[in-house]
């Protein structure tokens, strides 16, 4: 006869039921927190929006863990405390994004008139000026930088992924690309200035020098993103092409690059968005001018970020007008950068090859 007396009986087992808060508890405390914040912090103590936020947050982070501690015990209470804390960091991080967007839109909106986009600042005193010259400057300087960076960046990525085989040279290049990623933008500007000064003498300023400075910042980003994308192309596809008797370079150009093109375009677009907003290197190399200049190899060329900076830093006599124009230009710049970011994401998701894997 078998004896089952060693098997656990129900009395040996800890009860699985324990006290827990109802599911609506966080929501309920949240409502309470808003109420306390608005009524007490905002109105009774007269703290305004800031007061309401602080007091509401305090209510939330004190009441919910305390309630939990009474009903659920210490460990759960700590978990709830951390949950509120972690979400608070996110809320805090969103404040600058929201306030920055709001500030730029509300202050910049008024400046956007047709003349604002049609005029340059040549001979403008007070009102009536525009950012046409700066828009064109940004366009030209960034376009030239892209023309320099994309071939070098993509081909370097091709070298690293397809030819490097982790040999010494490719490891050195990978390391240098890492170093380049960390170069402060103003140092890139100093480099381009020092380089052009040798050929054109001290005080040289031209759009092309700005493009070179931006390329120093752009190349590593392009290399990195292209490298990632090329690595994602399955080896199977390369082998399939080789087995058809296709030379390696045609395999890379006709099979590997087309497969990775969506990702590469995304990376390049993000890189353009980044350098389009650069100020410091252009301040040192492309300089500042009030008039239109279409020639990147001759004379100073203003870009939007430099225009914003100088309008604030050296407004001259018409402080209010210049400040308002700076905000207008800031709004335009933010819209351009955001559009580029959205474009990058759309390209990335729409044109990605429909791979079965």
């Amino acid at each position: 006869m078998t004896n089952l007396s060693t098997a656990p009986t129900s009395s040996d087992m800890a009860p699985l039921q324990s006290g827990h808060l109802p599911r609506f508890a966080p929501l309920a405390v949240g409502v309470l927190a808003v109420a306390v914040g608005v009524l007490v912090g905002g109105m009774a103590l007269g703290g305004g929006v800031a007061g309401a936020l602080v007091l509401g947050w305090l209510t939330m982070i004190v009441v919910l863990p305390l309630w939990s501690r009474v009903v659920e015990g210490g460990r759960k209470a700590k978990d709830r405390l951390v949950t509120v804390g972690v979400w608070s960091t996110f809320g805090l991080a969103m404040i600058p994004l929201v306030s920055l967007t709001w500030t730029v839109v509300s202050k910049g909106y008024g400046a956007l008139t047709p003349t604002f986009f049609q005029n340059s600042m040549q001979g403008v005193l007070g009102s009536g000026g525009g950012i046409y010259h700066a828009l064109m400057g940004t366009l030209i300087v960034t376009a030239v930088a892209t023309l320099i960076s994309v071939p070098i960046g993509v081909l370097t990525a091709v070298y690293l992924v397809e030819y490097g085989n982790k040999n010494l040279f490719s490891r050195v290049i990978t390391f240098l690309v890492d170093v380049m990623t960390g170069i402060p933008s103003i140092v890139a500007g100093l480099f381009a200035y020092a380089l052009f000064q040798i050929f054109f003498g001290p005080g040289v300023k031209m759009g092309f020098a700005g493009s070179v400075a931006l390329s120093v910042l752009m190349i590593p980003t392009v290399v990195r993103s292209s490298e990632e994308m090329l690595k994602l192309v399955p080896t199977d596809l390369r082998e399939a092409a080789y087995a058809l008797g296709v030379p390696k370079w045609r395999t890379v150009v006709k099979v590997v690059l087309p497969t990775a093109v969506a990702g590469i375009v995304t990376g390049v677009t993000l890189a353009i968005a980044r350098v389009a907003g650069e100020t410091a290197p252009l301040l040192l190399t492309a300089g500042l001018t009030t008039s239109l200049n279409f020639n990147p190899f001759e004379g100073r060329m203003t870009t939007l970020p430099v225009f914003i900076y100088s309008s604030i830093q050296a407004p001259g006599l018409y402080v209010d007008e210049m400040t308002s124009m700076a905000w207008g230009a800031a709004l335009v710049l933010v819209v351009i950068v955001m559009l580029l970011n959205i474009l990058a994401r759309v390209v990335g998701s729409v044109f990605a090859p429909k791979s079965g894997r």
């Binding site: 399939a240 058809l244 008797g245």
Partner: protein
């Protein structure tokens, strides 16, 4: 147009590691030669050395002679890329090009080599190759659709069509059915039977019944011991191999006693 292949004393290395040692065999034209053996015994490596595809793997190299139609594939002035146009390959997993349609996939070998074809010639070639791969009737109405949209078995037949569109002498197949279901496998095996009349076919397989069904000759590869290089144990007509093998190890492998 099919060619025979004579391999003599071929050694294949990965860096300093000797992976396959001393293989000598004669692969007949217009016949199917199957290579069987346990995993890691070097049969796929050997197969790749027949069209120099092993060179794609960094550090891999081969020593010995592989004679096709009187030319040694490993002569100093032989271009591996040209070799691969004569000796095509089909892989374990179907790998159509994801950026190309079915039509473009079949023409890939020509297009990627920048061979100019008249539209009518290109259409003819696509139809011939797809018919050759028993795929024409299934895809003729959607040639413009991406190749990735086909089922696994259809994708594999598309890869075979792509391989025969460059008009090779020899077709190498590296476990072409291991990623497919039984029905697709049967379709590929039928296709191998038909292709035999025009091509020399070498197939690596893990499936002994498949080797028995499709091949005329069979080579059995094995490791001498763990860590030792793989070698060719026995090479004989398939019938003899599966009824009365010369070697004891072959018999125990085929009867399922190991591997």
């Amino acid at each position: 147009m099919a060619k025979s292949i004579d391999v003599s004393d071929l050694d294949i290395y990965y860096g300093d590691f000797l992976a396959v040692q001393g293989v000598t065999m004669s692969i007949k034209a217009r016949a199917v030669t199957a290579l069987i053996g346990p995993s890691g015994c070097g049969k796929s490596t050997f197969l790749r050395s027949l069209n120099r595809m092993h060179e794609v793997i960094p550090g891999a190299r081969a020593e010995g002679k592989v004679m096709v139609d009187g030319q040694d594939l490993y002569d100093a002035d032989v271009d591996p890329v040209a070799v691969r146009r004569e000796i095509g390959m089909v892989f374990q997993r179907p790998n159509p090009f994801p950026t190309m349609s079915i039509y473009e996939n079949v023409l890939a070998g020509k297009r990627l080599n920048a061979t100019r074809l008249k539209k009518s010639d290109a259409d003819d070639l696509v139809e011939k190759s797809l018919r050759g791969a028993n795929l024409w009737s299934e895809v003729k109405d959607r040639l413009g659709k991406p190749g990735m949209g086909l089922s696994g078995g259809q994708q594999q037949r598309l890869c075979i069509a792509r391989a025969i569109a460059v008009e090779p002498q020899v077709l190498l197949m590296d476990e072409p059915c291991s990623a497919l279901d039984p029905i697709s496998t049967a379709a590929i095996e039928d296709l191998i039977h038909e292709l035999k009349s025009d091509y020399t076919i070498v197939i690596v397989t893990h499936n002994m019944q498949q080797a028995a069904r499709v091949s005329d000759d069979t080579g059995f590869f094995n490791l001498k011991a763990t860590g030792e290089p793989g070698h060719l144990v026995e090479f004989n007509p398939t019938k003899k191999m599966f009824t009365n093998p010369d070697n004891e190890a072959t018999e125990s492998y085929i009867s399922g006693r190991f591997g």
